[in-house]
Symmetry: C2
Subunit: 344 residues, 2 copies
DNA sequence: TTCTGGCACTCGTGCGTTCAGAGTGCCAGG
DNA sequence: CCTGGCACTCTGAACGCACGAGTGCCAGAA
């Protein structure tokens, strides 16, 4: 590892940085002459050519054909992101705009919807926002509503404002007092607790009721546990697919597989799932496990109402994207969503 | 009107039908020779050419350049749909598959999600399904949950299984008995009623409470009315955008504006809103009000749990689509969703 | 009257050729 | 270790050309 990097002196890194920047801007392979013109590297094209040859040798850049300019490889982008680029902070007016746009949200659905649209607009790419996960959030309230003699609706409200409801078909008629007792018992034990711990806290609950009511209690509890456990309820919202057409058109990146991937919630969830909670994660090209996304990069980060993240959001774009800007936008949006969630 | 049609004898109509069918299949302008080969029209290419000239004169078909085959115009498709095509019924195995696929749904979200995916898969086009509208459905239950001394959560459950929730910040602390009274009063008056009638039924409700509690009651009611009235809460689910790439590629239809239109819920809602409730509606090309969709056709129909429709669903594809098949699929899916909703 | 076969005409498409420009690698000299 | 120069390579655009598909029209047959 050190061996590789040792060979890249500062000027070669500067050349790589310049190549990435130019290529992202122009979308065309960049040659030695154009490079020295646009960036004042203080050396001649010939020198740059030698550096380029070295960079290509190491696999950071690549030329489509002889006598064409160079384009960065996935490895080149990786180095750029890790060592050469700094996250570009949003400007003050941009931050104000984000804040203002998100502040208007009325409920959780709206927060997520606004966030995803905002992110798509800021980055001009495809944005993905995961709903705050049930697993990490806590119970705010459990409500039981009798709809019919033997039919109860169970409503679970979490601290993130998410509401899940389930119909419960009880084995027999349910008395209103039993329901009230159960409601009280549930809330006193579960409120404020994290969802995964709840089942453990309710184990001996049936034993507290009369023999006749136990089947009902058990049925309700079973449905509640099911709801708590349902990982696949993790939902996702998407926006900005129209931005795909901005590239794709004249590029090896055909949008078909990308669109297909975007329709599969499972794939998106897995994609976001790979995000390292704490820091921002950038997956470049073939680093993405999914075949259809090998020409794209995914920039994602966790967000949350407190200091810990309850869900993730991110952006999907071509590997040739403006990483500093995109990362800046993603980070800023994640922060503000976290604040909004904490307030509500 | 009669004047125009009078000039089109049976054979000319047959030629138009054949042109539409061939063009939909091959995506290439169809010439006179190919036509007589594939369909046994019993006449020579020269005759067909004369008929084609007449059809072109009337504006039903059009040739991209001299010495190219003909393609149908919007007007041609319109005639085809109105007079020449019959809705193609689904085969028994297809119907079974639809039934089976939809039967597995667990809640309303799931029903809609499955429906839209199914429709996209069956037609291989973009499918759109509107959530059952709040306006036409009835109240099944209203629940009030005290979250904090002066904070109440309002949950509205409709007969279509839809659940809407809102936080209510009350002017002062709310007693549990007041809440219970209000809950009872609300449900006894509103349950089973259509959403738009509800506000009228609750007008004198505040007068029934003690002076001190009236501000609270009014606040809750205001939020409830807001929720009932919120037309913009009409949600929509989309699937099959990847199918756009199947055409678009080599066609005057660029997918960009279509993708943009699909991201605008407002546009989709307006599109579906134009659907004639009772019958199936087909909007062809420029018949669509929206600029971005002038190269597409929209096939839509209402669906509902009873005999009246509570929402709409449809398919968006290129004007050169298989109308009989698409209409068959749309009709079949709408029927089965209606059944599922009625059962639950 | 209506259909048919024939014929001249029009274009779009595909293919091979040419040409200019951009970019490279390498080498010898500062 | 950098630089200027030079020969080489390759792509992409432009051009010309021939081919084929398809048409419109006309005169003759049914």
């Amino acid at each position: 590892m050190a061996g590789e990097v040792r060979q890249l002196d500062d000027r070669k890194l500067a050349v790589l940085r310049a190549i990435v920047q130019d290529y992202v801007g122009t979308e065309e392979p960049v040659g030695s002459k154009a490079l020295v013109e646009r960036h004042n590297l203080g050396v001649s094209p010939a020198t740059v050519r030698n550096d380029m040859a070295a960079l290509e040798e190491e696999g950071y850049i690549h030329q489509p054909h002889t006598s064409a300019g160079r384009i960065p490889t996935d490895k080149g982008y990786r180095l750029f992101v890790d060592k050469l680029a700094e996250i570009k902070p949003m400007s003050a007016p941009e931050r104000r705009a984000i804040r203002h746009f998100l502040d208007g949200a009325v409920d959780l659905d709206d927060v997520v919807a606004r966030t995803v649209r905002l992110l798509a607009q800021l980055t001009r790419q495809v944005a993905v926002v995961q709903y705050p996960s049930l697993t990490r959030s806590t119970v705010r309230h459990v409500e039981l509503v009798a709809l019919a003699p033997a039919k109860v609706m169970l409503v679970l409200i979490t601290n993130t404002g998410r509401v899940e409801q389930r119909m419960v078909d009880c084995p027999g008629p349910v008395g209103e007092t039993v329901l009230a007792d159960l409601r009280t018992a549930l809330n006193s034990r579960a409120a404020g607790r994290r969802l995964p711990e709840v089942p453990g806290l309710l184990e001996e609950l049936p034993a507290m009721f009369e023999q006749a009511d136990r089947p009902t209690v058990s049925t309700v509890l079973a449905t509640l546990f099911e709801t708590l456990a349902e990982q696949n309820e993790e939902r996702i919202m998407l926006a900005g697919t129209a931005n795909l057409t901005r590239f794709g058109h004249d590029f090896p990146l055909t949008i078909q597989p990308v669109l297909e991937a975007l329709e599969e919630q499972v794939i998106l969830l897995r994609l976001l799932g790979e995000t390292n909670d704490a820091a921002m994660t950038v997956r470049i090209g073939r680093e993405n496990a999914y075949e259809g996304l090998i020409s794209t990069s995914v920039v994602s980060v966790g967000y949350g109402s407190g200091d810990e993240s309850v869900a993730k959001l991110g952006v999907i774009g071509p590997t040739r994207m403006d990483y500093p800007g995109t990362m800046g936008a993603v980070r800023a949006v994640a922060r503000y969503v976290g604040q909004i969630l904490a307030e509500s």
